[in-house]
Symmetry: C2
DNA sequence: ATCAATGCAAAGATTTTGCATCAAG
DNA sequence: CTTGATGCAAAATCTTTGCATTGAT
């Protein structure tokens, strides 16, 4: 894998969107890539950014995350805990699902999609064309049963 | 159907939870029952409450909604728009799904569940016991295609 | 009569905005 | 150069909390 693959992709994507490619935006993307499974809030992302990029401001993080959301680079996970949380959005496939343990609070990713059939039924029954989905399961993980 | 059915249920449920049955709590429940399909935020619920119950305070609404959530009378819908939104929680069955139109913003309920098979696979593959779920589909409704 | 629930206002927390400065194209 | 992006601080939002009072049991 090319070490610059992420940077090149991002720069090109910004050009397509008529947006400027900046060090801060790249840094936010890098952090998301590195800690994607943590479903970080804006605050958590900002805290991690400051380690490598001390001067970065909160406003930039919020604005960058909004932009990334609009560009479909990331999406909101919505764990309903008072923070807006984000994860990378794989644009080649529908989103994975989240298994949220009611006991320990852990959030486990489940990579299989398995909703194609249901989405087809939705189109047939309701005339609604599905582009993506967000599915959370609540229950008990194997450690907490 | 008995006109007092809702009230009687609620009073009993509060007793079981060691909570007091108050006019304000009943009023919040009534509003939820009447406008459930609106997926109202706390603010919207408060606004509607004030029509019939002018003196009610925001804090009471927030506290009541938290209590209802804990009692599993309602659940958070999580439409990711900056507000915490709620709907009644049918305790006899898993939650219905939401079809969210990316164009007009409408939120359509889909009553069929159809996730039993998937939930069984989750238990087999991941050892995770599903109690409930929250599924949102994003796309275009039939009016916006 | 007791103790929790309410209403009000103040405080907290998260997110957004205005503006001068800086930097990408 | 020009225009948008950044950082800071202030403001705006949404939600929670403290406390005196009210009301349910």
């Amino acid at each position: 894998m090319d070490a610059n693959a992420g940077k090149l992709d991002l720069k090109k994507k910004f050009q397509e969107f008529g947006q400027k490619y900046t060090a801060q935006r790249q840094a936010v993307f890098d952090i998301m890539l590195e800690h994607n499974e943590l479903h970080m809030s804006s605050e958590e992302i900002h805290a991690r950014l400051k380690q490598m990029h001390p001067g970065i401001g909160v406003a930039t993080v919020y604005r960058t995350l909004q932009l990334f959301d609009k560009m479909q680079i990331i999406r909101k996970t919505g764990l309903e805990d008072g923070f807006t949380r984000y994860e990378l959005n794989d644009q080649n496939q529908h989103a994975h699902h989240h298994l949220i343990c009611n006991s320990c609070g852990n959030v486990i990713n489940m990579e299989d999609d398995l909703l194609d059939e249901l989405e087809e039924q939705i189109y047939i029954k309701m005339g609604f064309t599905v582009h993506n989905h967000n599915l959370k399961f609540y229950g008990l993980c194997k450690n907490c049963v």
